[in-house]
């Protein structure tokens, strides 16, 4: 019962914060609301028994990605950009596309007649030990591919942000 209460209150908080992210004009305010949304989503993962995903969501997303976004906002010194939303026609197309997609998702899931039963979960479901076991045995290729991707991203960031070097020096 507490799981249900927690899940519904946290998910309404997450949706509220997400809407506030895209509504507010100041990019710093959007970033702070995005951080709040990430923390609520992390709490939802904890309620759904995904303990390691909860930890890594908090560390990587709120502690890494949003901090880097805030660095970029403060370094570039943007402040309030006067026209925050695109022109009326383009905004309308965007909102209609979004609502159409959401209606599609709702219709798919409400008209499903059969839904599988909850399968039995192992004793240590979602714990770090299980994640470690999976990474080494079944998902080893995914693990190695992610390391290669991170390396490529680091090299790419350094290459992209070099200033142009004059010839002859």
């Amino acid at each position: 019962m507490t799981e249900l209460i927690l899940f519904y209150s946290l998910s309404s908080l997450a949706i509220l914060f997400a809407v506030l992210v895209i509504i507010r004009k100041n990019p710093i305010t959007s970033a702070i609301f995005l951080m709040a949304a990430m923390i609520s989503i992390a709490a939802i993962y904890a309620v759904l028994e995904a303990h390691f995903v909860f930890i890594s969501q908090t560390l990587i997303y709120t502690g890494g990605i949003i901090v880097v976004i805030i660095f970029a906002i403060m370094l570039l010194n943007l402040g309030d950009m006067l026209p925050a939303f695109r022109s009326r026609g383009k905004s309308l197309v965007g909102v209609l596309a979004g609502f159409g997609f959401l209606q599609l998702c709702f219709c798919i899931f409400f008209f499903l007649s059969r839904w599988p039963q909850n399968q039995a979960r192992a004793a240590g479901f979602g714990s770090i030990a299980e994640v470690g076991k999976m990474l080494i045995t079944n998902y080893l290729f995914v693990f190695e591919a992610i390391s290669l991707l991170i390396l490529a991203a680091m090299v790419g960031v350094v290459v992209l942000t070099r200033r142009r070097v004059l010839k002859g020096i």
Partner: protein, 114 residues
């Protein structure tokens, strides 16, 4: 268990977060807020993965959720690097000013003798 969280609601939460992020990408002008919308979309997909993992008792959903987080970190790094380079060029982050992909003509750099 008498009071399980219905998985359909978890999937719909993921779909709603994804839609809100998508609307943010299509509606806002500031490139940084567009990047934040992309992060919201990735989080929506993550919620769907974790929901199905809980339904099926399979840990693969969690591993994929972690991979999506790693991919999001790499993508935000590269995206911000591109953004900083673009900002150095024209001093604006308005997406409507960046609609045309054509560059200004950069004058040819002078050759140094010797």
């Amino acid at each position: 268990m008498p009071y399980e969280i219905p998985t359909i609601h978890v999937i719909l939460l993921g779909a709603t977060l994804f839609t809100i992020g998508m609307i943010g990408v299509l509606v806002r002008r500031n490139m940084l807020v567009i990047l934040m919308g992309i992060e919201l979309m990735l989080n929506g997909a993550n919620v769907v993965f974790v929901g199905y993992a809980r339904l099926l008792g399979d840990m693969g959903g969690h591993i994929w959720a972690l991979s999506i987080m790693a991919v999001a970190a790499c993508e935000i790094a590269i995206g911000l690097a591109v953004l900083v380079t673009l900002y150095r060029d024209r001093r604006t982050l308005d997406i409507d000013d960046w609609q045309l992909l054509k560059e200004k003509q950069v004058p040819k750099e002078p050759e140094f003798p010797g």
